[in-house]
Symmetry: C2
Subunit: 459 residues, 2 copies
């Protein structure tokens, strides 16, 4: 964790921003796998980490703004615990590292929760925390999920969205691990190798050097299947392997990269052509990202590059602005250009994607493709974002559009059909918005041109 | 999954065994990490796998014994799902592979749950399933946890405890992965290497070749800390690395091995002596395991070997039977000799350890050490068990016993104190009880003698 002044300052700012009421930040508990005591690797709640820093289960933090008091709730180790778990620092000592003086047993949380006042809590995504809040506040679970504090949500998002220098060091570490994962995946990208084998090895690297993967690895020849966590394929010459993977640093900050590699390290002409369009979209997005520009406009510009690139290959047709206005390129890139990243890979998605990515000025679109953009806001120094354009040939989506004549003026379905077994290509980097423009969060860029990737596979 | 006849037969047997009422087996859902859609790797509920076989989230199975009907509840993929997730077989098709004809949407589970009849469900260990049962049956969560069906619990345990041939193939696969994990750990066991690095690499192997680790890896120089999931140490010459780790096969069957390796591959005399006592306890336990013998008696015999071994080193003293009667060896091995293993590494621990490991004939002990034995029953062909004796020098426990004069007649604390920085040694194999005796589940035994382990590290 960072030095205690960081957490004290953050809580003071939160207090000022809310002004009154009680803030309750519930830490996470262990998550059972197949019986209560067999648990997944522990992951603390990100907002709890941000304000309290302590990375262990079964803690809660309460800030009583009206009475200017704060409490950490948690149970001290018993003598039995010490016998089984070794000499660990007491909770009291650990709380001091977060600048918190008052430590009370978890059971005291009930008595100190003054239900007559406004209790600000964040929307609980863990079933355990839904149950705890339901019992604590005497409301049923649907009502608990609805009645989270919008005020607290907005205050937290405002703070967490701007990354500090100490956070950037952690994000860079996560990037370094992610870099190693992708280089490993490229080197293993040979015909006959199981997708599962590579996915496992790079997940192992994430655990070896950091906390865990920052999200379930996507590693598949079927890159066109966007929600794909299947790893049952065996790599074949002539196909592409799309790998979207990242790690968490030991302090739980995320990285998130995508590279698409030709199996065996030799690209076909078709693959090169598509790759180069995606690469152009990536590079131009990065070079146009700077304070004052909206990410929504950069997403639109990426669609422009994809449209014009595919038009040059004969797959799309017509006028650029007309095509963009109806969202025609979304057939080939149905997702958003990127999202905020920080303690969560989709930063603060638990707090509500639209609160994170949009505001009064920049509203979320409703059109297919555009609406999938998670982050559209005007960029500010300290924002950390992914940039991840892609081109996919999704048979079911192509069939649907052709049958329903959706945007038919802009698509040469006869040409597009020649790519039915192509899969998809996505390229993704992580950037930090600076005062002048932006830079990569982890400065060393993964191989990204066809030549660089071919070299990485064959080296 | 196995062929459908396996599941049909199991369900028929369960139906016969219960005779009446409604059986409800809730499958697991996804488990959120840091926001709802960022999930841990999916793990199906083991009893659901056993009776239904389907390994995907958000399913439930209902067996209406009185009306001789059975249902699978789950939602079919929508057209949108297919666009994002590819062409997957329908739930109806998948249900057929489990021999189930009637597939209904999840929402129908409510209408078909006839609360006037006995509804047999298993104790829910997942918070999500606690919430679902609470809503379904209109009871609060503490009451849901209490009122699980003991009848169903016993019927399931009776069946799952005896492993069939197809299950043994899966258990063997899990053993093969576990073997590779431990060989890798031994080879990496060099001074200067981080525990985290090794733990990550072997977890990666588990994911590369199987479903996941079967439990959170223990890999530490502080083997005496029994509940130890800290991997922050850097291996030092002269110390031991205790590694307790296993994998799940892709069908979710578990393995569980422990080896303790001298860092750098050279044992000191002290380490050799302790190792050889533990090895003798392991070997004698395995050779005495056979149908008709209680595991409780084998645990006691392991204590005997440990007592006599430590007495020969001057650490313990006095008469063997007297020492065993008061549980004196428990100071150095405060845990049980082993546990049942199958779809869960502690098989069916969710259903209640005592239901699994004890019965009317063989009751659980109350004495320290003995009481920690998870499985005491009379052995039967088809039982799969771990055998995991160990010797540890736990400073806090030694201090407590010396101060409180616990079993002081049997312990030379002055001698024992010379081992305060020793750590601990545990050796663990997995066995199948056969008609004649027992055999290793995965026939190839991990290096286990001092010489074999030294060779494995240095090779």
């Amino acid at each position: 964790m960072f030095k205690k002044e960081v957490y004290i300052k953050r809580r003071a700012e939160l207090k000022k921003s809310l002004g009154s009421g009680i803030v309750l930040l519930l830490g996470n508990g262990e998550a059972p796998v197949n019986y209560f005591d067999n648990t997944y690797s522990f992951r603390q709640d990100s907002s709890f980490i941000y304000y309290v820093g302590l990375n262990s289960p079964d803690l809660a933090y309460m800030l009583d703004i009206d009475n200017d008091k704060e409490y950490l709730f948690g149970n001290e180790l018993t003598i039995d615990d010490i016998i089984w778990m070794g000499n660990l620092p007491s909770l009291k000592e650990r709380a001091e590292k977060a600048g918190i003086v008052t430590v009370l047993p978890l059971s005291d949380m009930i008595t100190l929760t003054d239900k007559k006042r406004k209790i600000h809590y964040l929307k609980p995504y863990r079933y355990r925390n839904q149950i705890i809040l339901s019992e604590l506040l005497g409301k049923n679970i649907p009502s608990i999920k609805e009645n989270f504090s919008v005020e607290l949500t907005k205050a937290v998002i405002k703070m967490r969205l701007i990354k500090s220098d100490e956070e950037l060091i952690e994000l860079k570490k996560a990037g370094e691990i992610g870099y190693a994962m992708h280089i490993t995946a490229m080197k293993m990208c040979q015909p006959g190798v199981k997708e599962q084998e590579i996915a496992g090895m790079i997940e192992g690297l994430a655990i070896s050097q950091g906390n865990r993967v920052s999200f379930a690895t996507i590693l598949s020849m079927n890159g066109q299947t966007l929600h794909n966590h299947d790893h049952s394929g065996i790599l074949e010459t002539g196909r592409l392997m799309l790998c979207d993977a990242g790690a968490e640093s030991n302090s739980c900050y995320a990285s998130d990269f995508t590279r698409t590699t030709a199996v065996g390290g030799t690209y076909s002409e078709k693959q090169k052509n598509i790759h180069n369009i995606v690469l152009q979209a990536l590079n131009e997005s990065i070079s146009s990202a700077k304070p004052g520009v909206t990410y929504k406009s950069i997403h639109r510009n990426a669609y422009k590059i994809i449209f014009e690139g595919l038009r040059s290959l004969g797959i799309m047709k017509g006028d650029t602005e007309d095509a963009l206005n109806v969202g025609a390129p979304a057939l080939f890139m149905p997702h958003g250009l990127g999202h905020a990243m920080g303690l969560d890979v989709h930063d603060m998605e638990d707090l509500g994607e639209t609160y994170v990515g949009y505001d009064d000025e920049i509203q979320r679109d409703t059109m297919f493709g555009y609406r999938s953009l998670r982050f559209g806001k005007r960029l500010e120094p300290g924002h950390v974002l992914t940039v991840e354009p892609g081109i996919y040939f999704v048979p079911q989506l192509m069939e649907k559009w052709e049958k329903e004549k959706i945007n038919a003026d802009f698509i040469n379905f006869n040409e597009a059909r020649k790519y039915l077994n192509f899969g998809g290509i996505r390229l993704e980097d992580d950037i930090l918005i600076t005062k002048e423009g932006c830079r990569l969060v982890y400065e060393k860029r993964l191989p990204v041109t066809v030549e660089e990737i071919e070299k990485a596979v064959k080296d």
